[in-house]
Symmetry: D2
Subunit: 135 residues, 4 copies
């Protein structure tokens, strides 16, 4: 199973006036984890402008469990859950840890991702070696 993991300390700009992390900010953490996942699959972001082959999010689902706060350490585990002909399903688990505290689940998300070849914008088949993600 192919996984990637990143962590992020909650900055000011990810919080809102409710005192906790904005629902939108979690999608930024998810995007960083997805980018790390694709890098692990052989598609580093730093090469995408040259190849013109980009992952495009087709659908996002995210459930918010409990609030994360300024200064919490967010850990995001991404995994490639399924690969079909022209789309991949990525799943994400997010936990938050306050300094000196225990990790607690804060959100879970999944995204359907297609590969788009620019500049034409044509969908591309998933690489055959991804179809059996047990490598």
């Amino acid at each position: 199973m192919i996984e990637a993991e990143i962590s992020e300390t909650v900055p000011f700009y990810d919080t809102d006036c409710g005192g906790v992390v904005s629902n939108i900010a979690y999608l930024r953490y998810v995007e960083k984890a997805r980018t790390a996942l694709f890098a692990g699959l052989g598609m580093p972001a730093s090469e995408m402008m040259a190849t013109g082959l980009f992952p495009a999010v087709v659908r996002t689902e995210i459930d918010y469990r409990s609030p994360a706060r300024l200064g919490d350490e967010i850990r995001i585990v991404a995994r490639l859950a399924a690969v079909e002909k022209v789309r991949a399903i990525c799943e994400f688990r997010l936990t938050a840890t306050a300094p000196g505290g225990e990790p607690r689940p804060v959100a879970a998300a999944s995204q359907v991702v297609a590969l788009i070849q620019l500049p034409e914008g044509r969908p591309r088949r998933m690489p055959p070696e991804w179809l059996n993600p047990t490598v």
Copy 2:
């Protein structure tokens, strides 16, 4: 049926290096439309810091249909689709129109929203007058 509608011209900072609007940016449009919807229901954002009663997003689903681009006019229609004891379901339809062009659907989203009383963070019942959203 209770609805709200807003529009937004796609700014630079909502696009990414794929040349189109970032998947995350659509959630900003959704948030503005949701805020307009709740204002129409009698909960304007400008009063929330005083009342301490905030809508909290519990779940988001969003499907991306086709890309929006820099300078497109985005129109977001939000409606209160269902109201239960402690949660409301909001639905969003997003269309984009290039100057001189026809509107095209770009995304559809739904969010489950709870009402949270700060500073305690306790969920509150939905206002009874929302339960029958045909007013």
Copy 3:
């Protein structure tokens, strides 16, 4: 003198856990106002992907006077303050108005902008008709 003016209601995602608008969010308002200013000068954002000619911010200065809050109406006035061979100076005044309140100054900014021709990334001369911005 060439001016543009836009307004924006402060959304949740522009606030932070200090209870007021994030210092970074004001730059989003400035960017929208600058885009409106350049549209008024004949360079609408919607044509930039086709022409490849983009305004690039070379320097930003911003002074924060007093905090803006969730739900405030932000008004941003942008003006073309000076035009030189390869750069333009844009100035911005931001005021915030709470519902039922008086406008109060919240920030003032200036930006030095160059015109960059993509994909080469070469700076371009300012259009001669901008050099005398009294038109």
Copy 4:
């Protein structure tokens, strides 16, 4: 001299349709570096919600030297340049490194920061031990 250093890999959402990092995104890097700097001075972000003492940006200047791109590693060095009674000056140097490349300067910034005691919003004196930042 008190310094902090962080690094960040440029994510999709920090780029724009010009193909490079958005001018606004650099301020997010600056904010993370400033937060690390204040943590090093004994004011970790994770304690601010409890103490109510927050650094507030009063002024920002940023010069953009050359573009950073998707996947570049950004390194931000922050230093406490000067401390006066009620304000501190922080300076930031940002470099970007493409995979396999050399670091190149991309931006330099400075910020004037005040300490604000919430909920009153009163400015506080800088801690006396910061006044001589050679510790």
